[in-house]
């Protein structure tokens, strides 16, 4: 199943968005009718600080082609400092991912505020294109039968 | 010009005992009262009529009412189906470009450029006859019709009213 890099293929990207900034930013993108590709599946979490490395790895393992974690801008966190923890964790995770052979660009971290609807659409667009270029993620997929040897 | 007298009496507070009226108002009144009987059946060929609303009579004079009277009379005379209205109309109609002394003042080129809007408006109605109840309008509409190559006939109202009159034994 070489869906590969042909342009019809739409990756599936899990986006963990904090409720207060980035989720609201995604809503604003809709309110302002900024269009972006239908590849993103948003999971609403209270804070980007809620997202552990495990959740990101689990998402990849479930078959996500990419992951986006987005929180409030530094200093804007509704829970004071959760986004900073998230950033720190992500910095560590990035190196680990590289180590286990996950391409850079598959997992993305960003800040999007409640007033940045356009920015959200842009990020969604960029992440989608980046993941499209990388093709479907295979490294961590739990495949029982069709796992290529 | 209706306005010259109407506004003159008003502005200079000239004492007078008479009431100042327009012949158009009277035509309409007489037809409504049955004093004048008109019959549009002469218009077998279905000549289409439209009209000019003289600024001095309508917008500056008696307003929409006299313009509606004008249309009432034309419809009675030429048949209601044979009247094509202009737009804009009534109090908001364009000046023909002959008013305000323009016909006397010279500046012919300007006057005709001015009249282009009126010409296009009248031409758009496709009417065969344009009724001009004011002498200035009459001269200007006649001129722009000729100048811009219009096909209509520019006339006063009375010619057609006469044509449609039903003469009873008194005159016959």
């Amino acid at each position: 199943m070489e869906t590969g890099k042909n342009s019809d293929w739409e990756p599936k990207i899990i986006a963990f968005l904090c409720n207060w900034c980035s989720y609201a930013g995604a809503d604003l993108a809709g309110v302002s009718r900024y269009q972006y590709p239908p590849s993103i599946r948003i999971v609403r979490v209270p804070c980007s600080g809620r997202i552990s490395a495990n959740l990101i790895l689990d998402a990849l393992r479930s078959g996500a082609d990419g992951v986006l974690v987005s929180g409030c801008h530094p200093g804007d966190c509704h829970y004071i400092s959760g986004n900073l923890y998230a950033r720190r964790r992500f910095a560590l995770l990035e190196r680990f991912l590289e180590f286990i052979g996950i391409e850079p660009g598959r997992v993305n971290f960003t800040w999007i505020s409640a007033s940045e609807g356009e920015q959200f659409a842009k990020v969604a667009q960029e992440v989608t294109e980046r993941v499209k270029r990388l093709g479907p993620a295979r490294k961590l997929v739990k495949e029982i039968e069709s796992c290529p040897a | 010009m209706f306005y010259a007298t109407l506004e003159g009496l008003r502005r200079f507070k000239i004492p007078h005992k008479f009431e100042f009226v327009s012949i158009i108002t009277l035509y309409a009144q007489w037809i409504r009262e049955g004093r004048l009987k008109v019959d549009p059946s002469w218009n077998k060929d279905g000549l289409k009529f439209t009209c000019q609303d003289p600024c001095k009579l309508v917008r500056q004079g008696l307003g929409d009412q006299v313009a509606e009277d004008l249309r009432f009379v034309i419809k009675a005379v030429a048949g209601p189906e044979n009247f094509v209205d202009t737009w804009p109309r009534l109090s908001n109609n364009y000046c023909c470009g002959g008013g305000g002394g323009a016909l006397q003042a010279g500046f012919v080129e300007n006057r005709r450029k001015y009249g282009k809007l009126k010409f296009d408006q009248l031409a758009a109605t496709g009417a065969d006859v344009v009724i001009t109840p004011c002498h200035n309008c009459h001269s200007q509409v006649l001129d722009i019709c000729e100048f811009y190559g219009g096909k209509w006939k520019t006339t006063h109202l009375w010619n057609w009213l006469e044509k449609a009159l039903v003469l009873e034994d008194k005159a016959k």
Binding site: P38, V45, P46, G75, Y85 | -
Partner: protein, 1010 residues
């Protein structure tokens, strides 16, 4: 005043009336809400979208209406009118006439069978006659109350008894009652709030617009209905003549506004510029062909509100054409099209054909409202709006009767909502002794224990009119939902948030014995609370609920990929179902309220808020960074209506200083904030700790000083160049030298509406013009030139602009490509500017040059907003929770904002906003406890190793290692449910209720299954 009554009468069920009613009902008062039509919602319910957020009007309004309709302490009196009022403030008796509905609201189930059978069709006034309705009708699909009514003028039976009567025969519940008679009620209330709204100007008398004669000339209100999915063409944008989609539309501004000749309305209607831009933008979006061209013909583009200027700029980028030209007459063209002839500023004539012309009609007072005001002895102003004064912006001339919304001046929705809360605030001040004396308490049925039950999930898929359904195949999604594990019921609704669907949902939950609910519709940020309450009413814990955001995050952002959007919608529903299956009932935690307010900033806004709360009996700590009270207003000479500012300020300051409940902290700032709504703890820079239940941020803003750069205009270089406030200083000091000036020049928009500061400062046009008039007072022979881009004297301020012209003050328009140039010749100022109309450069030699330089946010606002976790706009003003309907709330509960830190505004609006903030704050302070976080962290002691990472990451100190057990323990009162501890725990020992790792993973895995 003897003991006042604990109830309030609100007259008018539009957004202003509803907001006032909700504020009061939520802070301890019983409200009678009188509405003359058969449903509340007012003009806002007729709108399609709202500016500047493009929110669907019905979508944001509906929850409020439903809330008002269901509120235990709001008595909705529809089809009713006030006859007269007697008594005195605190104890009014009001006679109300309630006209018969002829349908028993307790029996009507809004099934619509009656309307189907009714043979009589009449023009539907809700669609402004563009569509038809029956003699028995619903005002609109989401009407509250959702009950049919019979129009007695149209009904065949009521006019000729014995004939017809079909509705009665077919009504399944026997709700029709032809014998109903008008009722007269007598209500005892403490105060009255008039929220009587406006009426759109009827342009029929303006023959040159062609309205009423040319088919494809419509009013803006009609156009709203043409755009609306619940309108006569189901949102498909058809023009009246041939039901075809217009490809080219023109908007004509100022129809019935700023017109003292034909319309006799000298005022500006304030909202038309913005709604025209919005309509042009939305029309483009609606147009199926995608190539709609829009042009707006205007005099001055008035985008003076928050976010408006950016909206205007974006509209230009989207290709909407703006012509500074007015059209004399709309002319018919071929195919029912319309020709507009217009002259540009240079005098060139253009002719352009359009397929539809929209008249941007102004707002005026309904004659019925004038009559009512006359009967109640309420004074109207020269424009027939209710008279108010700048320092008491919601008070009428009759004590105890307040006013809000467009009935006192044309205004937009946020301003109306602000005033509604302000009016509620004034009512509370008057009646504070009677709080909670007449209210009822909400009781929910006991909750069903669902622990042992197998999951029975119900899915409700919303069409949101056409907002979702035009892109996503909602039927397919609904059918798909039925196939998901655990789902036993799925249904598609036109508007899931409408009262009937909500009621139906509660019925379905009971009937189908659902124990989990998923709503696939808009965003949980606005609608979750509404649906959650429905669960509670149906006897289910409200946390057994999830939403799938298939509108904001699907149909609206994937308009060009309908199939993929449908697939995504299915994914989102599947994810929500997966999540809800793991949801558990959670406790409804409560936090006791510290009944004290912290007000930050002692300018006019802060002082008004503080005083109002103190007058209601709540202690206030008022913090001011400077060493004196007064703030920005100290620099102002007078209001635009002419009242001296300093006198007012003195009086206000004195009242604050003398008030026993206000403690003033001068020279102090906020350093540290902890806690949350109900229980804040704030440390001030002077070392004091303040415990408070709410906070109002009113820290003001600064005036921009163009010391350098492009907008400098010799400021700081030539001694005769001033800012507006510097000139005000000279007025305050009664500087005699001003009378001797020969020439004065004002430059507007100095450093405003430019890339560095893209917003309009709203106040400068009016302020500058008032100053010019003051100079003319001092010396009538002075030549005064105002160099401007657009004059933005919105509302009644337009009279000031007219007065200025009348007095010979000359206005010369410039644009960014042709800026005025200031230079010095022998120390004298010389200004060169081009007059666009005569096409020549003008040389001016002013004795003083005044720069109308606008308002800029304070640099330290960012710090403060972080402390209270409040958001900011890109320009640096504070960002309210919702631009339209929550103009004084922050997204953070218990924190409110007022004054210039929100956006530039004149003093009357600042006062109204400050009163509104006090009203919102009182909603918390009036209660003993507020709901606290239910989604909290939970430790599994079996797994906990007591390593303490969780205690370090918790910003609220809610987790601690128990001394005895050596394990982590969570204080649920402090926990905010952020989940930082969960992500930090190495042993998977701590989890967040209903947001555990397994549950999030179930959601992620569900996303991948499609």
């Amino acid at each position: 005043m003897s003991t006042p009554k604990g109830s309030v009468l609100v007259v008018g069920g539009g957004i202003a009336g509803v907001q006032a009613a909700l504020d009061l009902a939520d802070s301890g008062f019983y409200v009678h809400l009188v509405e003359k039509s058969s449903a509340i919602g007012g003009s806002m319910s007729q709108l399609d979208k709202t500016f500047p957020t493009n929110d669907c009007s019905a979508c944001i309004l509906s929850p409020k209406l439903v809330e008002a309709g269901r509120h235990l302490n709001i008595n909705l009196l529809t089809l009713s009118e006030v006859l007269d009022v007697s008594g005195e403030p605190g104890n009014f008796t009001v006679r109300v006439k309630q006209n018969p509905r002829y349908v028993d609201p307790n029996k009507c189930i809004a099934c619509g069978t009656c309307a189907q059978k009714c043979p009589k069709k009449v023009p539907n006034e809700f669609d402004l006659g563009l569509g038809k309705r029956k003699a028995i009708y619903l005002r609109y699909p989401q009407a509250v109350p959702l009950k049919y009514a019979i129009d007695p003028k149209a009904c065949i039976y009521l006019n000729k008894p014995g004939r017809c009567g079909f509705c009665q025969k077919v009504c399944p519940t026997g709700a029709i009652n032809f014998d109903e008679k008008p009722k007269e009620l007598s209500l005892e209330v403490g105060t009255i709030i008039l929220a009587l709204g406006f009426k759109p100007f009827d342009p029929t008398s303006l023959d040159f617009t062609g309205y009423g004669k040319l088919n494809n000339v419509v009013t803006s209100m009609e156009f709203e209905r043409l755009l609306s999915p619940s309108g006569p063409c189901m949102g498909h944008l058809e023009r009246p003549s041939d039901k075809k989609e217009p490809k080219k539309i023109a908007w004509l501004q100022c129809i019935g506004s700023r017109d003292i000749n034909r319309a006799c309305h000298g005022y500006c209607s304030s909202v038309c510029c913005m709604y025209a831009i919005k309509q042009a933008v939305i029309a483009k979006e609606h147009a199926q062909s995608g190539d709609l061209a829009s042009s707006i013909f205007y005099m001055d583009m008035r985008t003076h509100g928050k976010g408006f200027e950016a909206y205007y700029e974006r509209a230009k980028e989207q290709g909407i054409e703006f012509h500074r030209a007015r059209v004399h007459t709309v002319l018919p063209a071929e195919n029912d099209n319309l020709t507009l002839r217009y002259t540009d500023t240079k005098g060139n004539v253009h002719e352009e054909e359009f397929e539809l012309v929209v008249l941007s009609v102004g707002l005026e007072t309904d004659p019925g409202v004038m009559k009512l005001c006359h009967e109640l002895g309420i004074q109207l102003d020269q424009d027939n709006f209710i008279s108010t004064t700048p320092f008491a912006p919601v008070a009428t001339n009759r004590q105890g009767i307040y006013v809000c919304g467009a009935v006192c001046e044309p205004k937009d929705i946020p301003q109306s909502v602000m005033e509604a809360s302000a009016a509620a605030c004034k009512a509370q001040e008057l009646l504070s002794k009677a709080r909670w004396t007449e209210t009822k308490k909400k009781e929910f049925p006991p909750e069903r224990n669902v622990y042992a039950e197998p999951p029975r999930v119900g899915v409700f898929v919303c069409s949101c009119g056409i907002n979702i359904a035009s892109v996503v195949d909602v039927k397919e999604v609904t059918e798909y939902a039925k196939t998901l594990p655990g789902v036993v019921f799925a249904q598609n609704n036109l508007f899931t948030c409408s009262q009937d669907t909500i009621n139906q949902m509660a019925e379905i939950i009971k009937r189908e014995r659902l124990n989990r609910v998923v709503v696939a519709s808009c965003t949980p940020r606005t609608h979750e609370p509404l649906f959650q309450e429905t669960l509670r009413e149906a006897g289910i814990n409200k946390f057994l609920f999830e939403m799938a955001n298939i509108r904001d995050q699907d149909s609206w952002v994937h308009q060009n990929w309908p199939e993929k959007a449908t697939e995504k919608a299915k994914d989102l529903v599947r994810m929500a179902v997966a999540k809800v299956l793991g949801d558990e009932p959670l406790p409804y935690n409560q936090l006791p309220v510290t009944k004290k307010a912290l007000v930050i900033g002692a300018g006019v806004a802060g002082m008004v808020s503080a005083l109002s709360l103190a007058d209601q009996g709540f202690p206030v700590c008022l913090v001011e960074r400077k060493d004196r009270l007064g703030g920005h207003a100290r620099k102002f000479f007078r209001t635009w209506q002419g009242q001296p500012m300093q006198e007012y300020l003195e009086e206000l300051t004195k009242r604050i200083e003398d008030h026993p409940l206000v403690e003033i902290e001068l020279g102090a700032t906020v350093e540290e904030v902890s806690g949350s709504v109900g229980q804040f703890k704030t440390r001030l820079s002077n070392g004091k700790d303040v415990e408070h239940g709410v906070a109002i941020v009113a820290v003001g803003a600064e005036s921009y000083k163009p010391r350098t750069g492009k907008w400098n205009y010799l400021y700081g270089k030539n001694p005769n160049v001033f800012t507006l406030l510097e000139l005000d200083q000279r007025f305050i000091k009664a500087d005699k030298a001003l009378s001797g000036l020969n020439q004065a020049v004002f430059i507007h928009c100095v450093g405003s509406r430019v890339p560095e500061r893209p917003y309009c400062s709203r106040v400068c046009c009016t302020h500058a013009i008032d100053q010019a008039l003051k100079l003319k007072e001092l010396n009538p022979d002075m030549d005064i030139f105002m160099l401007y881009r657009d004059i933005r004297t919105y509302g009644k301020r337009e009279h000031l602009y007219q007065e200025a012209r009348e007095k010979g003050i000359i206005f010369i328009r410039y644009d960014l490509e042709h800026l005025p140039v200031a230079s010095e010749e022998d120390g004298n100022i010389v200004i060169e500017v081009e007059d666009q109309i005569i096409g020549e450069r003008i040389r001016l030699h002013p004795d003083i040059l005044v720069l109308a330089s606008g308002v800029r946010p304070r640099d330290d606002v960012g710090e403060l907003s972080k402390l209270f976790k409040c958001a900011m706009t890109q320009e640096g003003f504070l960002l309210e929770a919702h631009m339209k309907l929550r103009p004084v709330d922050f997204a953070t509960d218990g924190v409110y904002l007022a004054g210039l830190c929100h956006y530039p505004k004149p003093v009357e609006e600042t006062i109204a906003q400050a009163q509104a903030a006090a009203s919102r704050a009182a909603m918390i302070l009036s209660k003993d406890a507020v709901p606290a976080e239910s989604i909290t962290a939970q430790v599994n002691p079996m797994k906990c190793t007591g390593c303490g990472v969780c205690t370090r990451v918790c910003a609220y100190h809610a987790v601690a290692i128990d001394q005895n057990s050596g394990k982590a323990a969570v204080d649920t009162g402090l926990c905010k449910g952020c989940g930082a501890c969960v992500a930090g725990c190495r042993s998977d020992a701590i989890t967040l209720r209903n947001l555990g790792n397994e549950q999030l993973m179930a959601e992620v895995e569900a996303a991948m299954e499609g």
